[in-house]
Symmetry: C2
């Protein structure tokens, strides 16, 4: 089992307990990504994980708290990857990376997760669903936790000194919309519309397409 499926608390706990907690965590993330938060019951989760019904409340406190813990773990992983890529791009360009490399730091991590070859597709779908279907607590975090986006906004403003700041914010918003639209359902719809011409499994190609489109949008 991959590292990111194991609880941070594993070292502090007995192996069985850690295994149970990790199994609940993984089953919940997968089921929620596939069917949505409200459509998955605690019974579904514990049955899929092969543990008893009380495990969710024992290990996480409640169903809501379980979902919140998955959300926090995954979003902080994602934001860390994005921040690292942005930092590396800055290092390559004396602190002033060009638009395309800033956008690549924004797009690439979730796209890499979405690669069918890996085992993190569910994590991306989970995050996207949790963003729109999550609890009130998740919505509050989304609203107030924008520090990771601030770094991207600043970098874009520096890279586009000719643009008014509001314009940069709006275009960042458009780019995030492009990312959030990368859901299974939308891919299937596009596949159907294009008569099978689009293949979302080719991640590097999709990344290049997104960068071409968005970079040009910032040049307008």
């Amino acid at each position: 089992m991959s590292d990111h499926l194991i609880s941070d608390d594993a070292a502090e706990l007995g192996q069985d307990e850690a295994a149970t907690k990790a199994a609940v965590f993984a089953a919940a993330e997968r089921l929620f990504a596939l069917h949505g938060f409200q459509n998955v019951s605690v019974r579904d989760i514990t049955a899929a994980a092969g543990v008893n019904l009380a495990s969710v409340n024992y290990h996480f406190g409640s169903k809501d708290a379980l979902l919140f813990e998955i959300f926090r773990r995954r979003t902080s992983e994602l934001n860390r990857e994005r921040a690292r890529m942005l930092h590396e791009a800055a290092g390559r360009h004396g602190g002033k990376p060009p638009v395309r490399e800033i956008l690549e730091a924004l797009f690439a991590p979730p796209l890499r997760w979405a690669d069918p070859a890996g085992d993190r597709q569910v994590s991306v779908q989970f995050i996207i669903r949790a963003r729109s279907e999550g609890t009130e607590e998740i919505r509050e975090v989304l609203q107030n936790d924008v520090s990771h986006l601030e770094r991207f906004a600043e970098a874009l403003k520096t890279a586009c000194p000719h643009l008014p700041p509001e314009t940069v914010y709006w275009r960042l918003h458009f780019c995030l919309g492009m990312v959030h639209n990368n859901r299974f359902v939308e891919f299937d719809r596009l596949h159907h519309l294009s008569g099978g011409a689009t293949r979302e499994g080719d991640v590097p190609a999709l990344l290049a397409r997104m960068l071409d489109f968005a970079e040009a949008g910032f040049r307008a």
Copy 2:
């Protein structure tokens, strides 16, 4: 009360019945747009509409059927407006409208609905939420009902003969992502991130921003 809040069946029914049905329809649309499908009960809907609990099942058959009926009405209205604008743009340009006018036909209708000055904000938010949180039936319709998008794809391919068809489909997908991201939560987040610099209430300005960005994306 505006015309679009009145049931198509109004003429065939007694006034009281039509009024009750319309009240249920309007309350359900509003509550679902605000709180999500699963978070609103039939009891919430009938209480807000000021009618009795059994009304939903009597007039619509079930909660699912009620939501589906709202979804069908609103999406067909939206698609009709978009098709009309696309048709008018084609008329102005001898059947070959430029990219910007095609995209305007795609963007303008939902943006006009989102205008705070009007009374159709809930309808846009309803459609966006229903797209991602809706029932299995709604998801099937979304997947199979792409005829309205085909016209846009064809128009874009004609306007961009230099682009491979897959590229056009992907860019149309990116544009739809921009539209679907226009939710209250995302606007609030952007407002917070930008320190209050973005004002989503200015619909013509937002439309121009979206067109600038997307049109440039198609030129890449």
